[in-house]
Symmetry: C2
């Protein structure tokens, strides 16, 4: 289909080398200009594809992952050996049906699974870029995705879909490249990051940067690793992904492997043990500097402010049908934020369907078993096919 | 009034010595048995009083402070030089009227402003106890308060009042010593700490314990101080004290001292700058180990479980009138939790009035300018006087 290279990369706290899938070099001819003014290129972009591209090249769905996701959406993760993060949504016969559609899932710019990011070695020194990597925006991530899509010879996407930060990318596609897709699905997202969202991200960043093993971002050079800071950042974020009701249902005040509290600082409660596990598991697979850069990109996202305070203006060129989904117990990206997107799309005259799905699974619901979500996405895409 | 000693104590990251007010030694004759089984005594208890004790000794209000509060509720704080934390609620002519009532505000057991806590020197070594200090419960704190009240020669409190963890202490008074008060006011509290509450506390503890300067709790011995970990813990907690709407009103996405984002990791947004300030200011005045112990005591609080799953049983001996207040935007101790307390008090046949105050100030509302709160407390206490 296209020339791809295979590249191995340093990874995680154990410095193990892991081979990741398809990697292409983009912006080799003309550099990509970022919102900050920095110019990058040629730069590597890692991605995975699932399904078969048809001859008309009109069956392509671009899948945009969330903050801590990556390109391994439908296969075992090379670092964690866990199943893909969206096996419930995609695959043969699933809403994102790989017997019908050709899915492209790129690792975002700034990520740590092969795409250009702070872990990419500096050409001059061979050492990871660290904080020499430029600060990014969601729009920059999407510009890089479009270079990839064009590089793969695709002119128009059948759909672009994503949840959370992936949903922000979907909105950025709508703002920047509205002619390049036939439909769009935006799950559990917002057109701007709220003060509370920024606050929680800032806590995560401070936790990482407070860890002396962070070494101002040069931990790889120093043979150290801010595992504890990154774990605290992950624990904080993880609590925001769940609802109070969901936590209560799943854990309540149940004790972990004991009948009585220990009167100590061990993990007495299941929720503590669960959070500690989440923190540790994350450290294995994610790069601390990538966490800083990607959370920062989300914080900067504010389509309304970019368009003179009028969100409808952001979507002025959108004519393709949009599907917007929120989850009732998502307090990180609450339904109200999805409604603002819907109103703005309506105001811009774009066709949009909106569903709020009742669930106690919180923000994470877009990744979980939610039959109403699957029905919504399946039905929406079927409608687009019929147009 | 009673024999008190003055004692100075090491304090905070700068090791400055600060003299704190009245300190008494309690449990000198008979040791106090804690829920963990440990026995303590004689132990120091620091407190401040405001107003004048009448001859009948029946005008006493015990004020229970929250997680990070202390006895300096109505005067300049000796460490921070800031005004008392409840000057809006108490003072001449205020709802807790010092022209009428005699207020006693003790520093909780486990605290760091003079009461027996992990910063108290070990009698044998002269070094702070650190993790040799026993793990506490809210009930233990209240038992110590009762020793203080009796030590001061008071048989029956006119009222016991507190918000957040202070409200938990009020509930513990109701369970343990229902005959010892004529009325009780429980603000923004809960009869149990939820899974989400525990999760946020666990993040704070992990942030402190992840800081290498924590030294397994022996930072004073090692001449170090886990300032960064404690700051992250405080930042996390602080976000939970505010509502999303309040944050939006106060900060929104406003930038801090700049026209444009910096494309860097400085505090671009006001909310970031505010949180960093909150973290730093807290480190000055609070002891990291105290933070571990006090959050743990809150996590262990569950009156329902202690009474065979029946919260009404917990309040079986309560006959004094109760005032329960919640705040509409408090998501840490939501109205639902206050309602459970009210239902249980009703079930126990105790007289209870309940108010949910509409506000966007979140959990912190009990410390802030909330006229409806002041009217409620004033009216309730007036009613009790009239009985």
């Amino acid at each position: 289909m296209t020339s791809t290279t295979n590249q191995s990369l340093i990874f995680g706290s154990d410095y193990r080398e892991v081979a990741v899938g398809d990697i292409v070099l983009l912006a080799g001819q003309e550099k990509l200009k970022l919102d900050s003014g920095a110019e990058i290129g040629p730069f590597p972009m890692a991605f995975r594809t699932y399904g078969t591209l048809n001859t008309a090249k009109d069956n392509v769905i671009l899948v945009c992952h969330g903050l801590t996701g990556d390109q391994y959406m439908l296969e075992e993760h090379p670092v964690t050996d866990k199943p893909g993060w969206w096996e419930l949504m995609a695959g043969p016969g699933k809403p994102l049906d790989t017997e019908k559609y050709f899915l492209i899932c790129p690792n975002v710019l700034g990520g740590c699974m092969g795409s250009f990011g702070p872990k990419t070695p500096d050409a001059a020194t061979g050492k990871p870029l660290g904080l020499a990597f430029p600060v990014l925006t969601i729009h920059d991530m999407v510009r890089a995705q479009r270079l990839l899509v064009r590089h793969l010879g695709i002119e128009k996407l059948f759909s672009v879909i994503g949840g959370s930060m992936g949903g922000m990318q979907v909105l950025s596609w709508a703002v920047q490249f509205p002619e390049d897709f036939r439909s769009a699905v935006c799950l559990a997202a917002a057109a701007r990051h709220s003060a509370q969202n920024i606050a929680f991200h800032e806590i995560g960043r401070q936790a990482i940067m407070a860890d002396p093993d962070w070494c101002e971002g040069r931990y790889f050079d120093e043979q150290r690793y801010p595992a504890k800071g990154l774990a605290v950042a992950r624990m904080t974020a993880h609590v925001t992904y769940l609802s109070e009701a969901g936590l209560h249902r799943k854990f309540g005040r149940n004790l972990q492997d004991r009948e009585q509290v220990s009167y100590g600082f061990d993990a007495d409660f299941q929720i503590e043990s669960y959070l500690r596990y989440q923190g540790k598991a994350f450290v294995e697979r994610f790069d601390p500097n990538s966490y800083l850069y990607i959370t920062r990109a989300m914080d900067y996202f504010d389509l309304e402010a970019e368009h003179g305070g009028n969100l409808s203006k952001a979507f002025g060129r959108v004519t393709s049908p949009f599907c917007v989904v929120s989850f009732s117990s998502d307090w990180l990206f609450p339904t109200e934020e999805s409604r603002r997107i819907v109103h703005a799309l309506n105001g811009a005259g774009a066709p949009v369907s909106f569903v709020e799905i009742p669930t106690d699974k919180g923000h994470d619901a877009f990744l979980l078993e939610e039959p109403a979500l699957f029905d919504t996405v399946r039905g929406f895409l079927k409608g687009v096919e019929g147009v």
